[in-house]
């Protein structure tokens, strides 16, 4: 039911666009001729404007090569010569904004690369009064392209942020083998539920793979311990116990010890130690090992 309504709606939108395109067709033709006739001048001006915003991050030749491709596509799009031009133009703009986003360009610097074509064209059209309707239609299509560029830019930035946070999550949860049968999990950064889940999974897997019966959780790098973090730590310890491994928590700094006591958090029968060295000594002792001077 909803599908039917939706397709009817899209059909309406499509025919609407079709009509306005037909109205514009004649003026688009003139604009295409104008763009083709003044290609060299317009492209030069466009490159100058864009190059001024690049501030040395790209060479003039690179900018020119990039814009010359776009210019060709824009002309093809405006002249409506073939259907594939619109798709190719969008793809080229998406590629441009992706490379800008990765290159550390700001959103407005990226958008200017597209919008400045309007400025370049305006400077040449301004003298000839009879090109006004053509210019307005052209400006509208460039606006659409600018929006498209901006969307692609934002999508790329989101992607980069996601990759980075994943990389950070991966980096911040190493599991190291301290001794035969003893592993250590140094935690750095805040413990939220997503991190706890990852830490738990990695630690339990490591316990199983290495056949370790002791795990030392070092929380020196955890900036604050509140009731939620403590709850997460307790869960991790309990899960390790279910697997048949003992857990020791170490690296509790004086301020954190103070907070834990003030909040009334109980670690119950879980062994807690001040330093990693103490925890290792404790684990060795309960594994029945003794360290003696050589």
């Amino acid at each position: 039911m909803l599908d039917v309504a939706f397709s009817a709606l899209t059909q309406k939108v499509k025919t609407g666009i079709g009509l306005s395109l037909m109205d514009m067709n004649s003026s688009q033709g003139r604009m295409a001729d104008f763009l083709r006739a003044n290609e060299a001048k317009l492209l030069d001006r466009w490159c100058d404007i864009v190059f001024a915003t690049v501030r040395g991050r790209m060479s003039a030749d690179e900018v020119r090569a990039e814009l010359a491709d776009l210019y060709g596509l824009v002309v093809r799009r405006v002249s409506d010569a073939d259907d594939s031009a619109a798709g190719e133009l969008r793809a080229a703009l998406a590629a441009l904004s992706r490379s800008r986003a990765r290159g550390g360009f700001s959103p407005s610097e990226t958008a200017v690369a597209v919008f400045s074509l309007k400025d370049a064209v305006y400077e040449f059209v301004a003298d000839t009064a009879d090109m006004v309707p053509e210019y307005l239609a052209f400006a509208r299509s460039i606006d659409d392209l600018g929006l498209h560029t901006f969307e692609a830019y934002a999508a790329t930035r989101e992607e980069i942020i996601k990759q980075q946070s994943e990389a950070m999550l991966e980096l911040s949860t190493p599991v190291v083998q301290l001794w035969d049968g003893i592993i250590a999990v140094p935690l750095v950064g805040t413990l939220d539920s997503a991190r706890t889940q990852l830490v738990m999974e990695k630690m339990l897997d490591a316990l199983l793979v290495s056949g370790s019966s002791h795990a030392v959780i070092d929380i020196t790098g955890v900036p604050t311990v509140d009731t939620e973090v403590a709850q997460h730590l307790l869960k991790t310890v309990m899960a390790a116990r279910l697997l048949g491994a003992q857990c020791t928590i170490c690296g509790i700094r004086p301020q954190i010890a103070h907070t834990i006591v003030s909040l009334g958090i109980e670690f119950g029968d879980i062994a807690t130690k001040a330093t990693l060295a103490d925890a290792l000594a404790h684990a060795l002792r309960s594994a029945g090992l003794k360290v003696v001077p050589a």
């Binding site: 889940q197 738990m200 999974e201 339990l204 897997d205 316990l207 199983l208 056949g211 370790s212 019966s213 869960k235 309990m238 899960a239 390790a240 116990r241 279910l242 697997l243 048949g244 491994a245």
Partner: protein, 117 residues
């Protein structure tokens, strides 16, 4: 209904759960184990759940119950070979199996029981 076999090795009963546990077979296992404990006068029970991939609150509670039943006959229960995913699920369910001892594998579980006597 599938039944879980109970093997006697020395003074230890060995239960290896290799099937998808149904509520009915769990109840059956508890009854079988109680009878076997009386008959064999075993002092330890090892429950191997290496093959168990999925647990719910009922099975979690059943594992704790088996521990309590064994304790009535003065036998200690060791749960061995729990998968990480199962451990995480039980913890999320709030089932910490307080009365049951755990070990990484059957070998360590046996050593744990033998160390007691």
């Amino acid at each position: 209904m599938e039944r879980v076999p109970i093997l006697k090795i020395g003074q230890t009963l060995f239960v290896s759960i290799q099937i998808d546990l149904q509520d009915q077979s769990v109840v059956q296992l508890q009854e079988d184990l109680a009878e076997e404990l009386v008959a064999s006068r075993a002092t330890g029970v090892i429950i191997d759940i290496t093959a168990v991939e999925i647990v719910d609150s009922f099975i979690g509670r059943m594992l704790a119950t088996i521990g309590s039943i064994s304790r009535l006959f003065d036998a200690e229960t060791v749960l061995v070979g729990m998968r990480p995913a199962v451990a995480i699920t039980l913890v999320e369910l709030g089932l910490f199996l307080e009365g049951v001892r755990t070990a990484l594998n059957a070998e360590q579980g046996l050593r744990m029981l033998n160390g007691r006597s």
